[in-house]
């Protein structure tokens, strides 16, 4: 049962006039999986998510969400899905707690649960603050709480960590991991490649309405066979000496540092240790950003 499919999207297309916002996207998300959709602005992430949620009807293609078709509006399905829209949607003039209570009531949720949710997203002390007076990040967290209030089986989050400070972002990671630990499926979009690497079981990298690559982040990075970069302080080692080290493929020096690229970091690091130049040394392995660069030929721009 753990391997059954929570969401299956098959070859969906969606155009706005001439613009192909989503151009043949297919993917499956298993139950309990944490799935990330990455890509720059306008890649089609939100459109894809909205089609999967049943907010939009695709021009073509099919969606099965928890075994059912989300379009047209499927009332039986709705209690099982939780959605945080990219723009936060709130009632006017209500406090944080009242927003949660109202959204909770739409699903028949008790107010004890509301307190739990406020606690979960760290807004207990803001419970009686009007939503309009929350900071951007706090509003974002409230919006996520509203998506989770009815304990849905599958959660769609559209850029939940946008506008959050680093601390709040990390707290939210904990929240999302906690949600996943309870067996929920999470589908989310983000611009943060590093975050997706940390959180997601699998990611799909989207650009211009298409999925360019889809796999576990570590595997995507590994398949790239990108070089590992070892970075030393400038002057710690002469460039010529560095070039002679075992495994050193490429050496570059700028004003502050010396960078050695390698595909076999182990012997290189051992040799560096012998030279006694480990102080201030940094090792950079390839990241999803490198994958994106490789796939599109463009630098990733969030």
């Amino acid at each position: 049962m753990t391997t059954s499919t929570a969401l299956a999207v098959t070859d969906i297309h969606m155009s706005y006039g001439d613009l192909r916002a989503v151009d043949g996207v297919s993917f499956e998300v298993a139950e309990g999986e944490f799935f990330g959709i990455l890509g720059p602005n306008g890649a089609g992430k939100t459109t894809t998510l909205e089609i999967a949620e049943g907010l939009r009807e695709p021009d073509s293609g099919t969606v099965r969400l928890l075994g059912e078709a989300p379009w047209p509006r499927n009332l039986a399905l709705l209690p099982k899905i939780g959605v945080q829209l990219q723009a936060s949607a709130f009632f006017e003039k209500l406090t944080a707690r009242e927003q949660l209570e109202t959204f909770g009531a739409l699903y028949g949720v008790t107010s004890a649960r509301v307190d739990e949710m406020l606690e979960l997203v760290g807004l207990s002390d803001k419970a009686s603050t009007p939503e309009a007076k929350l900071s951007g990040g706090q509003r974002q967290r409230l919006s996520i709480a509203c998506a989770l209030v009815h304990d849905p089986d599958i959660v769609f989050l559209d850029e939940p960590t946008a506008a959050l400070d680093p601390q709040a972002r990390r707290n939210l990671w904990d929240v999302l991991r906690e949600v996943q630990a309870r067996g929920k499926t999470i589908v989310y979009t983000t611009h943060y490649l590093d975050e997706a690497e940390v959180l997601c079981d699998r990611v799909a990298i989207m650009d211009r309405g298409r999925i360019l690559a889809m796999d576990a982040p570590a595997r995507l990075v590994r398949d790239l066979e990108a070089a590992t970069r070892v970075i030393l302080e400038r002057g710690a080692l002469a460039p010529d000496l560095a070039r002679a080290l075992p495994g050193a493929d490429q050496v570059a020096q700028d004003e502050v540092s010396l960078t050695i690229s390698t595909r076999t970091p182990a012997p290189l690091l051992a040799a560096l240790a012998e030279h006694g130049t480990l102080d201030g040394l940094q090792v950079r392995t390839a990241t999803l950003e490198d994958v994106f660069l490789e796939l599109t030929g463009r630098e990733y721009r969030a």
């Binding site: 899905i81 723009a87 006017e92 959204f103 009531a105 699903y107």
Partner: protein, 364 residues
């Protein structure tokens, strides 16, 4: 909700529509009472009109026509007893005439033995007509009384005559229906536009709620607001300062007012379906409510407008609402008078509401 036994823990089943309805209504009422601008435009603004008009056109004291009296006789105490005019005594007819000529008094009455003389300033025809009617009525009564016989026909004119003197009798129901139209048209239009703009409608679409619960909750808010408006405005108009006098079954106006609220709400829905921004919606709502109020005779009687405009005025739900409210609140009529207005309002709501539902959009 029976297809999910494979899942170990189920989320709550869809809640009853009634609890969703209540939660949304609660949110709506809270949003309403916390919005100062809305409170101002639904309560204070029309109230200002009521107060200003009430003061301009005279309250209980000022609304009584003042006439001068000279001499002695049965007619003068009778005039005093009629309670419809305020008498100012003069020793000589010359003094009284001077005041009338100066425009300080509309008329004076002189009784000299059996001769009663009425001199009035024709410059103010309405006043002149009023005074004429009043004095001749009193004189006729005094004549009958002088014969020592019981009058062949008794006509209790004093009450109606007295009320008709006061514009507040006409204005209070009109301003109430205008205020309610502001509350319902703006309320519906702005809510739907802002819910659409702020994606609340999309979010609601993703929750297991029936559209009718969403709509119904907002209707309930508007009806509640209308009841408060009715109580407030009637209460203020009843103050001695304004001197509204309600006739027998005045409370029948409330159910009719609620039907009127529904018809205004349907107009608001239509506006809300077409407008993309709050600014546009409130502009259009203004463009509808104010002319509708004038053409429905909410502020001034429509007696003097051209017949074709009279005909046009019956196209507005507010005209029917006004007539019905006047009938039961101040003209002393009963539930029969509400039959036609009520049916018109229901039909209007059904038709406009249907169109609004057809053109309704969840998102831009």
């Amino acid at each position: 909700m029976t297809t999910t036994e494979t899942r170990p823990r189920r989320t709550a089943p869809s809640p009853a529509s009634s609890s969703v309805f209540l939660a949304l209504s609660k949110a709506g009422f809270r949003g309403f009472v916390r919005d100062k601008a809305t409170l101002f435009f639904t309560f204070l603004f029309p109230l200002m009109f009521l107060v200003i008009f009430g003061l301009i056109f005279g309250g209980a004291g000022a609304s009584k026509t003042k006439i001068g009296v000279v001499g002695e006789g049965a007619v003068i105490p009778a005039l005093e007893r009629s309670d419809a005019v305020e008498l100012t005594r003069f020793d000589t007819a010359q003094e009284a005439e001077a005041q009338v000529k100066a425009g300080d008094l509309p008329a004076y009455v002189q009784q000299d033995g059996d001769t009663v003389t009425l001199r009035f300033a024709a410059s103010d025809q309405t006043q002149a007509g009023l005074v004429n009617g009043l004095v001749s009525g009193v004189v006729n009564q005094a004549n009958i009384a002088a014969t020592g016989q019981a009058p062949a026909f008794t006509l209790d004119t004093s009450q109606v005559e007295d009320e008709s003197l006061k514009p507040i009798q006409y204005m209070a129901p009109g301003i109430i229906s205008w205020a309610v139209s502001i509350g319902a048209v703006f309320g519906a239009a702005l809510t739907f536009v802002s819910w659409r703009k702020k994606q609340v409608l999309r979010r609601l679409r993703l929750a297991p709620v029936q559209p009718v619960a969403v709509l119904g909750s907002r209707v309930l808010v508007s009806l509640g607001v209308a009841v408060v408006q009715f109580c407030l405005f009637v209460g203020v108009a009843l103050l001695p300062m304004f001197g509204l006098r309600l006739s027998g079954q005045w409370w029948l106006a409330l159910p009719l007012l609620l039907l009127g609220t529904l018809s205004f709400f349907s107009i608001g829905m239509l506006v809300g379906a077409f407008c993309k921004t709050e600014e546009a919606a409130s502009g259009v709502a203004n463009l509808i409510t104010l002319p509708m109020a004038f053409l429905s005779g909410a502020f001034l009687p429509l007696d003097n407008i051209p017949p074709w405009l009279q005909t046009v005025s019956w196209a507005f739900p507010m005209r029917h609402l006004n007539e019905g409210m006047l009938d039961v609140m101040v003209r002393g009529q009963g539930v029969d008078a509400l039959l036609v207005p009520a049916m018109v309002l229901i039909a209007f709501t059904a038709v406009v509401g249907f169109i609004a539902a057809k053109v309704f959009r969840w998102e831009d």
